[in-house]
Amino acid sequence: MIGKHNKGETDERLERFGRAIVRASAEANAAEAEVVAASPFLYARLRTRINAEAERRAGGETWLTLLGVFWRSVPAMALVAVFAFILFWTSSLGTTTTVSPGVLSDEAFMDAGDAGIESVVFAERRPLSSDDVLATILHEDEREVSR
């Protein structure tokens, strides 16, 4: 109980002293403040500073304007980029659909799909047998004999 009372008393004393300290600090500079307030060229210096700040802000405004223009152009640029990407994507999709994966035709090997290259069409894809060759030779011989 006594300790609590002492603590309260100490706190009160510290608080009172603290207030005195705050007042002492704040009121000690009143004379300096009065001197500043009475300074004859204070307004002239303020005016110079205001003019400098106005110029600085005007300079800042041009940058801000440029930034604003850039900022406004961002959506348009993004739209163009998206459009270009979509165009690229759809065009690449178009070429891949013409080629069926896993099945390579003769035309693909010979690059016959390209314009300007003559395509070769095999009418008869069955390979010639030796009987066929013999029959052809005999047929040629018989024609010679009949002449």
């Binding site: 510290l14 603290g18 005195a20 300290i21 704040a26 500079n29 300074s39 204070l42 205001i50």
Partner: protein, 219 residues
């Protein structure tokens, strides 16, 4: 703030409709602050100069509550009026009804910003070292039952007070000056800092506790 209130009331009868006549005929001292603000906002430089002359002392005294060097006080005065100059449209369009309280608020904010800036600088923190002589004096004062009575009169107290208060946060110092030196009410402080009344009370309690903690080290 009574002086500013008197200044604000000067020429309160001058209606806006007679602004042009007043600008030409009447002296600027007869015109109210609100009228001068509207003229200054329209580019009337003498009107702003008149506003400056009316309130320069008040702003200087506010700056003197926190800073002791003349350059620092002048810096706060210039900063406050410069901010006010560029914010004149806000005053004209806002709910403010007293230029004196508005410029005082700007000045307090400028002081607060400067205190924060100084607190961030390492050399600012180092300047708070308390000498042995000051410590002995402080201990003797704190032991005394009637502590605080001679503090304001003692020359040593001035330096010491600055050093002790430099150990507080800028928020705490601002609040204690507003409460104990300016004698502002909780409601006025709340309006000035745009804080709720309960927030002001809580912060005031914390600020006093912080100051007690600073002083307790010397008991």
């Amino acid at each position: 703030m009574d002086e500013q209130a008197d200044n604000s009331d000067r020429g309160a009868l001058a209606s806006p409709g007679h602004a042009a006549d007043a600008a030409v005929g009447a002296t600027a001292a007869d015109v109210s602050d609100v009228e001068l603000v509207s003229r200054a906002g329209a580019g009337d430089e003498p009107a702003f100069e008149e506003l400056f002359n009316r309130h320069r002392r008040r702003v200087s005294l506010i700056a003197g509550r926190f800073f002791r060097q003349r350059e620092q006080i002048e810096e706060i005065v210039q900063e406050s009026f410069m901010k006010a100059y560029f914010a004149l449209p806000d005053f004209a369009n806002g709910q403010e009804n007293s230029f004196a309280s508005w410029i005082a608020r700007i000045a307090f904010n400028a002081c607060y910003d400067e205190l924060r800036r100084l607190k961030r600088r390492p050399e600012g923190a180092a300047s708070g070292d308390i000498s042995e002589e000051e410590e002995a004096w402080l201990k003797s004062q704190l032991r005394d039952v009637g502590a605080g009575a001679d503090v304001e009169a003692a020359a040593i107290a001035r330096d010491l007070a600055d050093k002790l208060l430099a150990r507080l946060s800028p928020e705490d110092r601002l609040l204690l000056v507003m409460l104990d030196v300016e004698g502002m009410s909780v409601a006025e402080i709340g309006a000035s800092n745009k804080w709720s009344i309960s927030k002001v009370k809580v912060r005031a309690h914390r600020a006093r506790a912080s100051l007690r903690r600073v002083l307790e080290r010397f008991v």
